[in-house]
């Protein structure tokens, strides 16, 4: 059996063993759930047969791909996650209008810049989600992660104040991501 994820309670109560057995049967419950939903969307029907097959795939695929998931993923604050998704969607809309405006009004006036964002996130999942979020919100692309994983280099289409941009990225995206995926890990 693979190394099991560290559980919060160290005391070996019966509940601890029960939880460990559940974890051994289903290493990544969230992944299983997402795969099942993904399957239902793929076949585009919600019959009982599709649900059973989807659930089976959702249960088996995490075992086959366990090497890609060295860390157990857990979402700690669903409320924060929902608010983060809201902020993210709003920023895509707002940023798309900004970028469209910049392209139409005058590429000559753009002031592009590279800015370095010092990272407080530590896990692979957190850093890749932050980099993806930055790239998806219009006007910024994450360009490179430093070898020591302390700095994320970001290219921005137009900025007057690089320090404010860094502060905004940290406050709008990094803080919620830390709360959702990393709080309590340190």
């Amino acid at each position: 059996m693979k190394r099991l994820p560290q559980l919060p309670s160290r005391k070996k109560t019966p509940a601890f063993y029960a939880l460990r057995r559940v974890k051994a049967c289903m290493p990544h419950p969230l992944l299983s759930l997402s795969l099942t939903v993904l399957w239902l969307l793929l076949v585009n029907s919600f019959s009982a047969g599709a649900l059973v097959l989807g659930a089976l795939l959702g249960w088996l695929i995490p075992f086959a791909t366990s090497r890609f998931w060295p860390e157990a993923i857990s979402v700690r604050h669903p409320g924060v996650l929902l608010r983060f998704l809201g902020v993210f969607a709003w920023d895509i809309v707002r940023g798309s209008f900004q970028v469209a405006g910049l392209i139409l009004l005058g590429p000559a006036r753009l002031r592009p810049a590279f800015v370095e964002v010092p990272l407080a996130l530590k896990t692979d999942l957190g850093i890749s989600l932050l980099a993806n979020t930055i790239s998806l919100t219009p006007g910024t692309v994450s360009a490179q992660l430093s070898a020591d994983r302390q700095l994320l280099l970001v290219h921005t289409l137009n900025t007057d104040d690089p320090a404010a941009l860094v502060a905004e990225i940290k406050q709008r995206y990094e803080t919620p991501l830390r709360q959702i995926f990393e709080e309590g890990d340190a």
Binding site: L41, S96, V99, P107, L136, P138, A143
Partner: protein
Amino acid sequence: MTDILLSLLILAGALFTFVGSLGLARLRDFYTRLHGPTKATTLGVGCLLVASAVYFSLEGGSLSLHEVLVTLFLFITAPVSAHLLAKAALHLKVKSLAPPPDRPAPGPARD
């Protein structure tokens, strides 16, 4: 009523996609060009997919959610390709309007 709504969504989608591609022609260095097609298209394709989902849900009589998957895969792959392109450009030292990070500019980033 829904026809008008759907037409507006498709028009908006086409407009954003067009502006994104226009960016490719108008912007002046590799890094800024990356922003046009990868970004304005996020919303452009988004609008088109919402229109498609609504139309086929009404037309076919059952909920059509394939489009959610297209969005999901797009959101997973688009940033990765943009990131890799930027990384390769940095490695090749492509001409850049912004001062490249290895040689920090002496003053504020304004020429």
